[in-house]
């Protein structure tokens, strides 16, 4: 394999989905299965319990989180808006992207505050399966949210430099929509 050859011309085949978007789509499918596994596990363990939440464990803050859910959904909408603007004139998309980042950041911070409160009330990783599942599932989602925010921030940076390509943007968006779309399901399953 030592010989060096000239770079062959890439074949002309118009892909149905650009590489980055297809790759991200596949990744998201795997992630959906990951969370499906967690939710199933949660339901099975919950079904085993006589009382839920277990005796002596705090109830989760449903109402506050409803507000928080709204913030996250809005951020998804902001990103969709950004895409619409990006198509017309890329530079005008910067503001909605930053809005999406800010709303996402708000979501994560709010959750952090909520966690501190819950730990004070006695819900910890070890206090019961309720706590274990709550921190595992919601924490894993939060990790994804943080990663997605970083990716969005990076996209915003490239956008500001005028170097963001449509398919790059599309794959980052896809990941963010996954994070946003997953949350209501987790909220419905875990909090109620």
């Amino acid at each position: 394999m030592g010989k060096v050859v000239a770079l062959p011309v890439r074949p002309r085949r118009e892909p149905l989905l650009p590489n980055g978007v297809l790759g991200m789509l596949l990744f998201v499918l795997a992630e959906i299965m990951l969370f499906a596994g967690l939710i199933s596990a949660f339901l099975v363990v919950k079904g085993l319990a006589v009382e839920w939440p277990p005796v002596g464990q705090p109830r989760l803050p449903v109402e506050e989180t409803a507000f928080n859910t709204g913030a996250l959904l809005l951020s998804g909408a902001a990103l969709a808006w950004a895409q619409a603007r990006f198509r017309r004139a890329p530079s005008t998309a910067l503001r909605p992207v930053l809005l999406a980042v800010a709303l996402g950041g708000l979501f994560v911070c709010f959750q952090g505050v909520e966690w501190v409160g819950l730990v004070r009330e006695g819900l910890t990783l070890r206090s019961s399966t309720h706590g274990s599942f709550f921190y595992l599932i919601v924490g894993l989602h939060a990790l994804h949210a943080v990663a997605a925010i970083l990716a969005l921030g990076w996209a915003a940076l490239r956008l500001a430099e005028g170097r963001l390509r449509q398919d790059t943007f599309a794959s980052v968006q896809l990941f963010w929509y996954f994070v946003v779309g997953l949350w209501p399901i987790l909220y419905w399953q875990v909090y109620f």
Partner: protein
């Protein structure tokens, strides 16, 4: 006459089988391991089993359908990932 009856029989076979499975006892008395599983989360187990079985198939099915619709939009006519499973060229 015989053909009709035979058809009826094959039609009924599936539903009958399903019914037989459903009314079959949830627990066999002579079986040492059956009773061990008598817990109150059986419903959840069955539910999540069905869910987890269906989900991957739905996901893949959804993506394939989406790609197909997209191929229609992009190329106009059929050629697409699965409908791109068309006849291979017959070279003389």
């Amino acid at each position: 006459m015989g053909a009709v009856r035979r058809r009826l029989r094959t039609r009924l076979a599936g539903p009958l089988l399903a019914a037989a499975v459903l009314v079959a006892p949830g627990r066999a008395l002579a079986c040492a391991v059956c009773a061990a599983g008598e817990t109150n989360n059986r419903a959840e187990f069955i539910l999540t089993t069905a869910f987890m079985t269906a989900l991957p198939l739905l996901l893949v099915g959804g993506v394939v359908l989406y790609l197909r619709a997209r191929a229609r939009r992009v190329h106009g006519a059929p050629p697409s990932p699965t409908s791109a499973l068309e006849e291979p060229r017959r070279v003389a």
